[in-house]
């Protein structure tokens, strides 16, 4: 399984090639193409023997190496030489050099002190740090990606699930509102993830989501997030008594 581990380690064919070049102590400007191709193909073979799914990119690179090797070994017509330049390795060398720079840059990035790993900011909403009651803020910031993604998610769910299966499976938003309310009576603050990780089907996820939106609209709960991808927290805005009142008051909501 050593090869398997190796493959995990390489982020692509260029990474693998660089590793081979370095381990053979070759000059990147003067790659011994026959040797490198042989080793590269051997690793690809081992991958296949282990029934690993060899990604297409690794095979494309294998073909390129073989092509370069043949160009190096065979006499070349002048036409071809003109078309591809004198050294068939030139383009590969350029790509490897360029790739190497970004690989180094990636390593540099990894060494920079990172938020949540090396450096920490106050958790929770800044509003909590104010000594007096500040107006509650239930909002999130958005990027273009989030906008497009919101629509994409909505369409994917809407197309396949919400309007057909919800009815069939008798999942009602009202039931989920009651369920969420019950949990919020027990805990004043729950992470969104806690709601979604218990092996839910997609329809259940959608209905839970709609229930959360509805509770927010009713100003019963607050959904908050500190930075854009951090944990999303639900906390109750309403009193437990108010929440208890929602549990049976299903006729008030006209959903199913």
């Amino acid at each position: 399984m050593t090869v398997d581990i190796k493959l995990e380690k390489f982020s692509g064919p260029l990474d693998l090639l660089l590793h081979l070049i370095k381990s053979q102590e070759m000059d990147i400007y003067d790659i011994r193409i026959v040797e490198i191709t042989e080793q590269y193909l051997k690793i690809i073979d081992q991958m296949k023997q282990l029934d690993l799914d060899v990604a297409g990119e690794f095979l494309v690179m294998a073909a390129q190496l073989i092509h370069i090797k043949s160009r190096m070994l065979l006499p070349v017509s002048e036409e071809l030489a003109e078309e591809e330049g004198d050294d068939p390795r030139a383009e590969l060398v350029k790509r490897l050099l360029e790739y190497q720079r970004y690989k180094q840059a990636a390593e540099l990035f990894d060494q920079l002190p990172q938020l949540e790993r090396d450096i920490f900011l106050p958790k929770g909403d800044g509003a909590d740090l104010l000594l007096e009651d500040a107006p509650q803020d239930t909002e999130l910031t958005i990027s273009l990606f989030q906008l497009a993604n919101a629509f994409h998610q909505l369409m994917t769910h809407a197309a396949t699930e919400v309007f057909h299966e919800v009815v069939r499976e008798n999942l009602s938003v009202t039931d989920y509102i009651a369920m969420i309310s019950r949990r919020l009576i027990e805990h004043s603050r729950i992470s969104l993830r806690d709601f979604f990780q218990s092996g839910y089907q997609r329809t259940e996820l959608v209905v839970t989501f709609l229930a959360l939106l509805e509770l927010t609209r009713m100003r019963m709960i607050k959904i908050e997030q500190v930075t854009t991808f951090s944990e999303v927290w639900l906390s109750r805005l309403a009193t437990t008594d108010q929440l208890r009142r929602i549990c049976p008051a299903e006729e008030a909501l006209d959903y199913d």
Binding site: A148, F151, E214, T216
Partner: protein
Amino acid sequence: MTELRAVIEAFLFVAGFPLTLDKLADLAEADKLDIKEVIAGLSEEYCRCHRGIRLVEVAGGYQFRSDPALAPWLRRLQKERVQRLSAAALETLAIIAYRQPVTRAEIEYLRGVDSGGVLKTLLERNLLRILGKKEVPGRPLLYGTSRYFLELFGLKDLNDLPTLKEFAALDPELVEALPLESS
């Protein structure tokens, strides 16, 4: 002791909620009496010399909070936050951006919830524009996105909106689930 002071200060700063003496002793692996002393020192130091932050004892623990005297200033920062959108608003805005011109009933059909309030908010925030009325019974209003919407996202025009195909293409699993292309 200086090391302990820095550790305690950082814990209180990062936690975001009041930390009890027991919790601090546990986290900093230190004696409660020492911690008490450090806290007293820090608290005194923040109180002296006109700082904007106070170390206060609250809800059975300790927490850094802003000086109440500065609240009138700090409230100005709270107002700034209104520039953000809720999840419901985002969803509605997304539908309108990709499906415009669209009526409220169509939005509500897609979202499955009443969207009157969200529409009002979006209109108030100048993100939407009324494009006219749909030629169907009842002549409902047609909504579209505003100029300000384009500015907010740095778009030249609506053609610059990322297509759903491009996002689906990032994630092969999603490609099959894409019967609804952006219109």
